[in-house]
């Protein structure tokens, strides 16, 4: 038993993924953990980081306690540099202005393909999920960071449906499809940070979070995952990181 943690799994996700973002980057963020992480990064180590929202917003500052319900309402535009049509903000991805696309995920597979459309057979689904939104565009056109809970049912060998492409079937298959730019960069979970093998494009463990043993990752992953012998260790969330986060989301809408 590890010592009692003073943070929730969602807070851990936000902190760990926020650390991956670099100052000066242009980040296309979804609401929830991605937005919290990007805003956290701005407050802690990346003041020159710019957030873009799918609703058509460039460079807003989120007001603490007024987190937007989606990327498409007026709260997203607070202190923004520019608002523009949805199609045009998404076209910035295609043009190549965006460094990182950052979103959550419902189901992911060993090659980083994401499913947010159907659980089960798409022709007769057990669950019809809401769909891609801009997820397919973002993951098709830029480097991706995905933040999600590490559960066996979410980390599967092969997704039921590729909504947002990762490395498709691995190797060069992504580029072979015509997706010549972008790809999965990191997957951040409440157990570990994962990246992808340069050649096979299979997911592997880059670093384990504090108190997490390799078997815990294996047990919660639905496919054989490579964990190197000398796998890295992340530093636990710091007081200043948690303070910024709790100020942003005092009602814990996204960090409960």
């Amino acid at each position: 038993m590890t010592e009692r943690k003073n943070y929730t799994a969602s807070e851990l996700l936000a902190v760990m993924s926020g650390r991956i973002l670099k100052d000066g980057q242009i980040v296309f963020a979804g609401v929830g953990i991605p937005l919290l992480a990007a805003t956290l990064a701005q407050g802690v180590h990346a003041p020159g980081l710019t957030i873009l929202f799918e609703g058509g917003v460039i460079g807003p500052f989120v007001v603490p306690g007024e987190l937007p319900p989606s990327t498409n309402e007026q709260r997203c535009t607070r202190r923004a540099n520019m608002v523009l049509p949805i199609t045009d903000v998404l076209l910035l991805l295609q043009r190549g202005y965006i460094d990182v696309g950052f979103m959550g995920g419902a189901q992911i597979d060993r090659y980083g393909n994401l499913n947010s459309s159907f659980i089960g057979d798409p022709e007769k689904p057990a669950t019809r999920l809401p769909g891609t939104g801009g997820g397919n565009d973002i993951s098709s056109l830029t480097q991706m960071i995905v933040a999600m809970k590490h559960e066996k049912r979410r980390f599967v060998d092969k997704v039921d449906f590729i909504t947002s492409p990762g490395f498709i079937d691995g190797g060069s298959s992504r580029a072979d499809c015509g997706l010549i730019a972008g790809g999965m960069f990191r997957v951040v979970t409440d157990l570990a940070i994962l990246d992808f093998d340069d050649d096979t494009k299979e997911m592997k463990v880059l670093a384990l979070h504090p108190g997490v043993e390799p078997d815990e990752v294996r047990d919660n992953t639905g496919f054989d995952i490579t964990i190197p012998d000398h796998v890295g260790r992340t530093d636990p969330p710091q007081k200043d990181e948690l303070a910024v986060l709790r100020n942003l989301d005092p009602e814990r809408l996204y960090t409960a």
């Binding site: 007026q74 949805i86 939104g133 098709s140 947002s164 015509g178």
Partner: protein
């Protein structure tokens, strides 16, 4: 009536446009009169996105007029999509994301109607929907795009998209068919009697949609004078000659938001999510009885939403202009 071909032939598109009265004329009318512009079977495009500038009042009028077999497209569908399915005015939705909103999880109504096969939800990537309207607005038959290829979103669309090779670079791209809706429903903050529309804040896909559509019904929080439009023509986003009807409807997007005027009515949305959780079909039908069929007028509908909720949503809405 809607054409059967995926892309409207260019000369047919131009013929329909040429037939429209594009003169500078007043076109103010009631919701009920405007509803008569929509024919059964039409492709109807909805302006706004998710819970923002949704043309709720016009949808309300179409539901009350018992329209049938509409195909409805939008960038992202929220609770208005549940109303479309539940009322039966549309069993075919084309969008990129469909749920009430992230905070309420997956829409039980959307799940119920799509999983049971009662209704269809064609999923396109968000940018693809936008580029389809844009190609429609540009008067070209298709738009190449670098997304959707390689995914099952693409695969599931079958013949509605085609892989093409760039004639200059040899790159593989996806060709998206232009979308020229039969009619677009767009809600704005202000417009004049001719249909010059000014919209504040987020524009979503509304401008392309207005240019692409064969008809446009504009609902507006406020009708303003043509003089006031002409004082700030740089603020005009939709020109009068694309517009066929102008309806003044205060709180025309409620329970969704209208930028700078009111934010979403969150309590109302919470109640709708709760009501449709256990039995989605019964829940949405009760909602329609209470809020769509029950009220005698739009003001009566607003009465049901409640003064306290309207005041709260308005106070939050206006706060966007207060630093």
């Amino acid at each position: 009536m809607a054409e059967e071909t995926l892309v409207l032939p260019h000369l047919e598109l131009r013929r329909r446009t040429a037939e429209r009265d594009r003169g500078l004329r007043e076109k103010v009318m009631s919701l009920e009169e405007a509803a008569s512009f929509v024919s059964d079977g039409d492709h109807v495009a909805l302006g706004g996105c998710t819970m923002s500038r949704t043309p709720t009042a016009m949808i309300w009028a179409l539901v009350r007029a018992k329209k049938k077999n509409l195909t409805v497209s939008r960038s992202i569908m929220s609770s208005e999509g549940e109303v479309l399915y539940g009322s039966g005015i549309s069993e075919h939705v084309i969008t990129s994301w469909f749920s009430q909103g992230i905070v309420w999880g997956v829409s039980k109504v959307m799940r119920h109607y799509t999983e049971s096969g009662q209704a269809r939800f064609d999923e396109w990537s968000h940018m693809s929907i936008g580029l389809r309207y844009r190609a429609g607005a540009m008067g070209i038959p298709y738009m190449p795009v670098r997304s959707m290829i390689g995914s099952d979103v693409n695969a599931r669309l079958g013949d509605e998209v085609k892989e093409v090779t760039c004639p200059f670079t040899g790159e593989r791209l996806l060709a998206l068919p232009a979308l020229n809706p039969d009619i677009a429903l767009i809600h704005v903050q202000r417009a004049d009697a001719y249909g010059n529309a000014q919209l504040d804040g987020l524009q979503f896909m509304d401008i392309d949609m207005a240019m692409a559509a064969n008809r446009v019904i504009l609902t507006t929080e406020q009708i303003v004078s043509n003089d006031s439009i002409r004082r700030a023509p740089d603020q005009t986003r939709i020109p009068f000659f694309t517009v066929d009807a102008v309806v003044e409807v205060p709180y025309g997007s409620a329970p969704h938001e209208c930028y700078g005027v009111y934010e979403p009515f969150f309590n109302h949305m919470d109640a709708l999510a709760e009501q449709t959780k256990k039995d989605p079909e019964a829940g949405i039908k009760k909602y329609l009885d209470d809020f769509y069929y029950g009220p005698s007028s739009w003001s009566d509908y607003l009465d049901l939403l409640g003064a306290a909720e309207i005041v709260d949503a308005s106070r939050r809405g206006r706060s966007i202009y207060n630093d």
